[in-house]
Chain length 335, copies 3
């Protein structure tokens, strides 16, 4: 049995199932562990914009009684350098010092660091977040890295379980068009987490934008959007830049999911991680319909982050915390 | 008797008098309700710069024991879109999703959203803040909207009551020059709140910059600055762009209030909402004199925000809280 | 015996020794005074980027149970004006109002305000931070001002004491090259604090970049880097712009301290305040070696800030707090 030292992918969870269950429990009882993080500090570092991740992680920390330090690294702090070259240009602080210092100030770090989308090797290596992890010497939560977005995925898994508690659903991750190339992280991560779920999983996308096979070995892959849509229980719409022609935009507006296309499957649920460009990635009328569960997904970001933080607090700092959900349920029923 | 679901104008207060009284009580006993907001989250969204509103609202939430989530929406989050057009340009997230998500994370929302000053219909409709309100489905406090700034006005009313506890004062809202067109919100709002106050209320301004009549029906309006100044008890100096020629700058530097002009009324009190451009909107020597009450106004922003938050907490979440100030005073005298 | 009303230089401390001792105690028992700041508000104002100062001061306030209000003054608030000229240009709010308002909202202010590096008289006068201090009328902590960085220096003194508890060390402040002119504040401040320490203190720099003599009267000054390095116990590497030719960059890359140079003194400890430009100011291989104590310094920023805040809380608001460390140690041993 391993502990959760870091949380950067599904494989960091001791048990994906247990983590989902803990998230569901915390959604119901958000204040059940309000002292678990007392006198512990979460430090969040944003290298990129963030609304849901920023706020849901902050709220999760507050619900656990943690202190929070947060910084927009490149604007409120100093322009960061991730290289080993002499720093004679515009960057002011090296990741080596920044990460080590954050590690001194914080008990758990959360870091958001998008891919370059022009340096495949660097992005695939996850060198940036690994540097944060290794140099800070503290437990680290990915707030979205170059290739994965595990807090989003955990919230997505909670959403799937809420939607289909008693069924093995047909889940389709469906590529969506965009006006500019965007990261593969959410798509990769969703695919990775599906490995642990009891679903029938298909990825539907143009051939040019197939994801890195490392994430998709267990998936059925098709370029036939209509076939994929026909008998799906849920569609996860998401755009991503090409992996083969790394970082290039694939123009195919015809792939946008519309209400008209949903006529062949009018009850299908539609997911998206947000932010979403309406009528570019996804038809606005779908987002405003009962097909859409995007707000439910976003809402699940709070208990998902709370579950991860709580698990990491327990595993790294407070082994006395009892995370057995069944026992907690019994305690709550008594109280 | 209606509850205060939202706070976007004077008309949202069940009783302006009671709200002022609650603010005055909280100014005296800032920690009297330090648990009232426990486990509730205030989310503040800033679309524009803010010093007083940002800090006074944050402090008010802290004094009530609330958790706080705050975001500079357009820079820390994603560029927001308020339209229904396909999002194929620079905006990344639509208000529909942003507001719904904030509503999931927060129990009360505070939103600052300035007017365009070039689209009169849009500004007058208050569409932006109404979208935040409707789409978040949560109680909302205006932190200054296109046409009103009610937290400023409540603090202004508290200030007037402190200055003239036993008198019906002559109050003059006086237009001031500026180097660029600025919103009418503070002026509109002040005029609107005056409707509920026992004062003799005059607006003095060049004819070209008369405010929207919707806000000024109860006011005497004059373009004679000297007459208005002569027997005033208090002057509220404030610049605003033209409403008739919507959003244009009216150049008339002669309207700047100076110490020289005050010689005809040397004891008059001078208000301004801040920030103020010294020696452009208002003579610096007035701001540095005992005529000025601008810091008293700014100070009242904390208890004003605290009163509004407390009232909304009680009305929407915790009906058991007793806000009767007379009873509270008795309790404090016992304690 | 004077109280610590403000903290802008070493001379504000009643006893530098006691403050260091308090910092060391708080490093060991960070939660020993977790209620000392309850219901008090620290307001931090950043006019410039900050990582360590921002986060360590925030954490220190949290450890003392203070409320925290923080603002990036020029971006989240309004562009500030420090002059007396009519404000008919781009600045929106004068320091007179901004400081007075912050003083109303906060019990202790922390302000970061870098030098202009082009107006020697203004920088030397410390007019900006003095305006914040006088106009806010509240106890003020410098988070780095035009000429000093006392929180950094206190952390540096703690570090020296940890390194050499039983020895009078030979300490060398050594100028370092840079790609652009940077403030003298850390160097000035370190020199100023050394006045209170039992050390043998040398400043090694090219003649062109000698510091303001006001800070260096007690120091041996040399332009011979090798001599200074030879028998030093610790080197504080730091770049600064010329004081004589005010604000100009002195180009002398040969002054960069390298591992090769350390061969004549392989056990010397190397300090730097961070951020540091690797292989420009200081050899990267030194930073990554056991010679470097830069992370220890950065870590000491938290207890240093906590000691200052605690002292100011006691001296200005809560005289009943007992800061006698020896008594505290006894209490902790009992508990």
């Amino acid at each position: 049995m391993h502990n959760m030292k870091h949380f950067t992918s599904a494989f960091d969870a001791q048990s994906v199932r247990d983590l989902i269950q803990l998230g569901s429990y915390l959604k119901k009882y958000p204040n059940a562990f309000s002292d678990a993080g007392k006198n512990l500090t979460l430090g969040t570092v944003f290298m990129n914009p963030s609304l849901r991740t920023r706020l849901s992680t902050s709220k999760a920390a507050q619900l656990l009684g943690m202190n929070l330090l947060s910084i927009n690294a490149q604007s409120e702090g100093w322009a960061l350098d991730f290289s080993d070259a002499p720093m004679n240009h515009t960057t002011v602080e090296n990741i080596r010092e920044a990460a080590a210092v954050m590690g001194e100030y914080c008990d758990i770090l959360g870091v958001r660091s998008f891919p370059t989308l022009n340096n495949k090797q660097r992005d695939d290596s996850e060198q940036d977040i690994i540097q944060w992890m290794n140099l800070s010497r503290k437990p680290l939560i990915s707030l979205e890295s170059a290739t994965r977005h595990p807090l989003q995925s955990l919230a997505d898994m909670m959403t799937l379980q809420e939607l289909f508690p008693d069924k093995k659903p047909k889940v389709v991750l469906m590529w969506a068009p965009h006006v500019k190339p965007v990261p593969q992280a959410v798509a990769n991560s969703f695919a990775e987490w599906m490995y642990f779920m009891n679903t029938d999983f298909t990825i539907a996308c143009p051939d040019e934008v197939r994801l890195n096979e490392e994430f998709t070995a267990h998936a059925t892959i098709t370029n036939n959007q209509t076939e994929a849509l026909k008998d799906a229980d849920v569609i996860y719409a998401k755009s991503w830049a090409s992996y083969a022609e790394y970082g290039t935009l694939h123009h195919n507006a015809e792939w946008m999911l519309t209400s008209e296309k949903l006529r062949i499957n009018p009850d299908v649920k539609v997911m998206h991680c947000l932010p979403v460009r309406r009528d570019v990635e996804l038809g606005a009328s779908i987002l405003d319909s009962s097909n859409s569960v995007v707000i439910q997904q976003a809402s699940n970001r709070v208990p998902a982050a709370q579950a991860v933080l709580l698990q990491m607090i327990r595993d790294n700092y407070r082994n006395e915390i009892n995370l057995s959900v069944s026992e907690q349920i019994a305690l709550n029923q008594l109280a």
